[in-house]
C-alpha cells in the first residue's frame, strides 16, 4: 500500500521539478533577450537616507538617461518651443527667474515655477495639491494641462510621439524599456526617473551639519542658523525635515505630515479669501479651512530661485524675511486661516542679515553645475 502511494507522489514531484526547471530556463532566456537594466545608485552622504522610489517605476540608469534627453527636448511641446527645462533651469536650482511661468502657446501659468531640488524626497507636489503621491502623477499637469496650456500635448499626442522615433530615441527607449516604441507612460516614467535623480546635499550647511565640518559655515551663518532653528522666528516649523520642507519623506520615515500652510499673504474680504485666480489647496479640497494654503517649498538653493512665494510676488530673500518678520502682508496678516507660526518676530538688522546669510549657506554649487543634470551632449 505504502509503495503504491509513493509512486504518484514521486511522479508529481518529478513533474514539478521539470516545470520549475523549464520556468527558470524561460526566465533566463527572456532576460537574455532584453537589454540589461542598470539600477541607479544615488550619490548621497552617509547620513542622508535614500528617497522612496515607487515599485512601479524602479530607477535605472537607462531611464534616467532617456528622461534627461526628454527633459531638455522641445519636441515634447506642441509647437516645439519649450521643454521642461524652459521653466526649470539648472542655474536657478531648476526654477525660473520670472514671477510666473508662461506656457508653450503663451498662456500665463499663475504660479511661480518651483525649484526641482531633491524632488525624490517630496511627499506632496506642486504648490498646492494633496492628491499626488508621486512625481509620475504630477508630471501629467505640465504635459497635458489645457488651462493653462503648458507643454500642450493634449490633442497632439500622435505628432509628438512621432517626433520621438528618431534613431537616437529608438536606442534610448529600447535601453530603458526594451522597446523602441515611445508612449506617454514610458515618457512619464523616464522623466520622473531623471527628476528623481536630481539631488542636492553638498551645501556648506550639509558640510557643517551632516559632515561635521566646523569651518564650513561662517560665524554669521551659524548665528543665522541658530535664529532659523529658534522659537523666535519659527522657520523650522514649516521648513523642517531632510529637505527643509515639511512635505518631505524618505525610506526611514513612515508618518504622514501636514505640508500645507497659509502664510498670511492675502485677505481680500476680511474672511481670509485669497485672490480668485489662485486660492491654493481649497481649490482641490473645497474645504474653507484650506483657503490660501500652499506647500512649504524646499529652502535648499533658495538663494537661486527668486522670485519667491507661490505667485512670485516677493523679489528677494531679504524681503521674504521682512514679510515673515511682519507676520504676513499688511492685508493678509489678519487672515483667519494663517498658520499659528507666522506671528511675526523682532530681529535686529544684523540678525536679519545673519538669517539671510544662513539661507545663502543652503546653496550647493556642485548641484548647480553638475553636468549629469545639464543638457545631454549630442
Amino acid at each position: 500500500m505504502r509503495s503504491s502511494d509513493e509512486k504518484p507522489a514521486k511522479s508529481a514531484m518529478a513533474k514539478l521539478g521539470l516545470i520549475s526547471a523549464f520556468a527558470v530556463l524561460i526566465t533566463v532566456l527572456a532576460s537574455a533577450c532584453q537589454p540589461q537594466s542598470t539600477p541607479y545608485t544615488f550619490n548621497l552622504p552617509e547620513t542622508v537616507p535614500p528617497p522612496v522610489v515607487p515599485v512601479g517605476n524602479p530607477l535605472t540608469e537607462e531611464k534616467v538617461r532617456l528622461g534627461r534627453r526628454l527633459f531638455y527636448d522641445t519636441a515634447l511641446s506642441v509647437n516645439q518651443t519649450q521643454s521642461c527645462a524652459s521653466c526649470h533651469q539648472q542655474q536657478f536650482a531648476f526654477a525660473q527667474a520670472t514671477v510666473h511661468a508662461t506656457g508653450a502657446t503663451g498662456d500665463k501659468v499663475s504660479r511661480n515655477s518651483m525649484a526641482l531640488v531633491n524632488v525624490a524626497y517630496n511627499s506632496a507636489f506642486t504648490w498646492a495639491h494633496n492628491g499626488f503621491a508621486q512625481i509620475e502623477q504630477q508630471l501629467l499637469i505640465p504635459l497635458f494641462n489645457e488651462s493653462p496650456v503648458e507643454l500642450g500635448i493634449t490633442g497632439h499626442e500622435d505628432i509628438i510621439l512621432k517626433r520621438l522615433t528618431t534613431h537616437e530615441y529608438e536606442r534610448l527607449f529600447d535601453a530603458a524599456f526594451a522597446t523602441k516604441t515611445p508612449n506617454f507612460d514610458r515618457i512619464v516614467k523616464a522623466l520622473a526617473s531623471f527628476v528623481r535623480s536630481i539631488t542636492s546635499f553638498n551645501s556648506p550647511f550639509d558640510q557643517y551639519a551632516y559632515q561635521g565640518d566646523d569651518s564650513a559655515l561662517t560665524p554669521q551663518q551659524i548665528k543665522g542658523m541658530n535664529l532659523f532653528f529658534s522659537e523666535r522666528t519659527e522657520c523650522f516649523h514649516c521648513h523642517g525635515g531632510v529637505n527643509f520642507s515639511q512635505s518631505s519623506t524618505h525610506t526611514g520615515q513612515s508618518l504622514v505630515l501636514q505640508p500645507f500652510h497659509n502664510t498670511g499673504m492675502y485677505n481680500e474680504d476680511g474672511q481670509g479669501a485669497y485672490p480668485s485666480d489662485d486660492q491654493g489647496l481649497v481649490r482641490i479640497t473645497h474645504k474653507q479651512e484650506d483657503m490660501g494654503k500652499f506647500r512649504a517649498p524646499t529652502l535648499r538653493n533658495i538663494a537661486l530661485s527668486a522670485p519667491y512665494m507661490h505667485d512670485g510676488s516677493i523679489a528677494s530673500l531679504a524681503e521674504v524675511i521682512e514679510f515673515y518678520a511682519q507676520g504676513g502682508s499688511e492685508q493678509g496678516k489678519s487672515n483667519p486661516h494663517k498658520s499659528p507660526f507666522v506671528k511675526g518676530f523682532a530681529l535686529t538688522d544684523e540678525e536679519k542679515i545673519a538669517l539671510e546669510a544662513f539661507l545663502n549657506s543652503l546653496t550647493d554649487n556642485s548641484f548647480l553645475t553638475n553636468p549629469a543634470y545639464g543638457p545631454p551632449l549630442n
Binding site: N130, M225, N226, H237, G252, L255, Q258, P336, P340
Partner: protein, 264 residues
Amino acid sequence: MQTSFCSFIVILCLALAGCDSAFFTNPGAGEIPVSVKRMNTSQCPFEIKLAGERWQIEYLGFYVSEPEVRVDGRWQRIKFKESPWQTPDIALLKFHSNCQNANATNTSLKLEATKELMKLSTAFRFTLGLPFAENHANPLIQPSPLNDSSMFWSWQDGHKFLRLDLRQKQNAEHTFSYHLGSVGCVSDSAVRPPEKSCTFTNRVNVILPMTQLDYDLALEVSLPHLIMQTNLVESDGCKFEAPDSGICGRLMKNLQSRPWLSWD
C-alpha cells in the same frame, strides 16, 4: 487509528489554546487605547470646548518613553511593540486629524505584555518626553517615530515632547500653542547636540495606579486639566521656554500634578 490521531490533534489544539494565555502574548493584550476627553471628531479639524470657548485642535501629540509596570512591589521594564509609531522604548501618540491625509493619528500604546502581566500590575509609569541620547540625535538616521520632523526642533534642543496647537473657533486669528521640550541646552550651534543635560530637561514622570486583575485598560487625555488656570484667550501659549516663565510654569505644574492623563 485515524480517529485516535484526529482526537490527539484536537486535544493538542485545545491544550495549546489553554496554554495560550499563560505562555503566549494575546493579540490584544498590552494594547492601551488613548483618547481625548470630549473631543468632537465629527468634523475636521477636530474641536473641543475649553474654558467656555470652542477650539480647533490643529495639532496634539506627545512622546511616551521608558514604560514600566509595578508587579509585587517592583518596577518592571516593558517594551513597546515596534511599528512606525513605536520603537521598543518610545511611542508617539497623535490625536489631531490631518484633514488632507488619512491614517495620521496613533491613538493607542501597544506594549509587549501578556494579559497576566497586566492583571498582576498595580501601577503603570512612563516618561512624557524622550531620553537624552535619542532626544538630541540626528533625526535623519533615527527610526520612526523619532524622525517625525513636525515633532523635531533641533539637535541642540531636541524634540518636542508634547505639541498642542489650538485655534479659537470664533476668532480664528487667535491661536494657542504649547510646545514642551528641553531648554537651556548648551552646544556650539543649533545642529550640534549638547554633551550634557540641559538646564531644564522638562521631562515629566507619569505614574498611574492600576487595579489588579483589570487588564482591559484605556487612557484618557483631559485637556481641561492640562490647561487649567491658564487663559487661552489672552495668551498665545508657551513654546520651548523655561518652566519658571509665566504660563509655562503653570502648564508644567499641571502636567506634574493634575490628572491630565487618567484611566478611562
